[in-house]
């Protein structure tokens, strides 16, 4: 069964802390994505990666960075957490070169910044 896992389901951090969110997929997918989901706003793309060490900004990259050192792992970093980064964070992966680009999602990490 295909799987995308995220390091934590729930996380509470303080303002100014550096936060790492990890995502691992076991499907050998080239593409990986980080979204945040807020009520009424839907899924907003933060960053994505289409290959190891490659990254592209999404729609809301400010305050975030990413790292993809291995194909299966994509990390989201909040350099200095702020309260407006309290949200549900979802990681996803997909294959390249296929017609439907179905994305497989992890269970999400609910981050609270106090």
């Amino acid at each position: 069964d295909v799987k995308v896992t995220q390091s934590s389901r729930y996380l509470v951090k303080r303002t100014g802390e550096k936060v790492f969110l990890e995502c691992v997929q076991d499907m050998d997918h080239e593409n990986m994505f980080w979204y945040r989901q807020d009520p009424g706003l839907g899924l907003r793309l933060i960053y994505f990666s289409y290959d190891v060490k490659m990254k592209e900004k999404g729609d809301i990259p400010e305050g975030y960075s990413v790292s993809r050192e291995k194909k299966e792992r994509f990390s989201l970093i909040l350099e200095s957490a702020s309260t407006n980064q309290t949200s549900m964070y979802l990681c996803a992966s997909s294959l390249s070169g296929v017609k439907n680009n179905e994305q497989f999602f992890g269970p999400g990490t609910r981050l609270t910044v106090l």
Partner: protein, 113 residues
């Protein structure tokens, strides 16, 4: 900018009825539309894809239509059950490439016994 809109109001229906959810897109012509289901506290799960040259697609009790004139997709669940209660998201491929999807905000469906 490319945009997908879904009805933000929750849809409440009785068990056994057909649920119909709407997805409208603006400022582009997507090659396909996808539909996902999301349960509370979980990530979305892919359900169906319909291409621009397909009028209709079916999978068990699910049916999706694609009207390029109206710039709209309709998602139907026939003989709905309480277990169908969830949020349903519409998504399409961003025309700038990179296998990037644009998602609607989703419509919450509640099926009552």
């Amino acid at each position: 900018s490319q945009k997908i809109e879904q009805n933000s109001e929750a849809l409440n229906i009785q068990e056994g009825k057909t649920a119909t959810l709407t997805c409208n897109y603006t400022n582009y012509s997507p090659a396909y539309l996808q539909w996902y289901r999301q349960d509370p506290g979980r990530g979305p799960v892919f359900l169906l894809l319909i291409r621009e040259n397909e009028k209709e697609k079916r999978k068990e009790r699910l049916k999706v239509t694609f009207d390029t004139t109206l710039k709209q997709s309709l998602f139907h669940i026939t003989a709905s059950q309480p277990a169908d209660s969830a949020t349903y998201l519409c998504a399409s491929l961003f025309s700038g490439g990179y296998n990037k999807l644009i998602f609607g905000a989703g419509t919450r469906l509640a099926v009552h016994p």
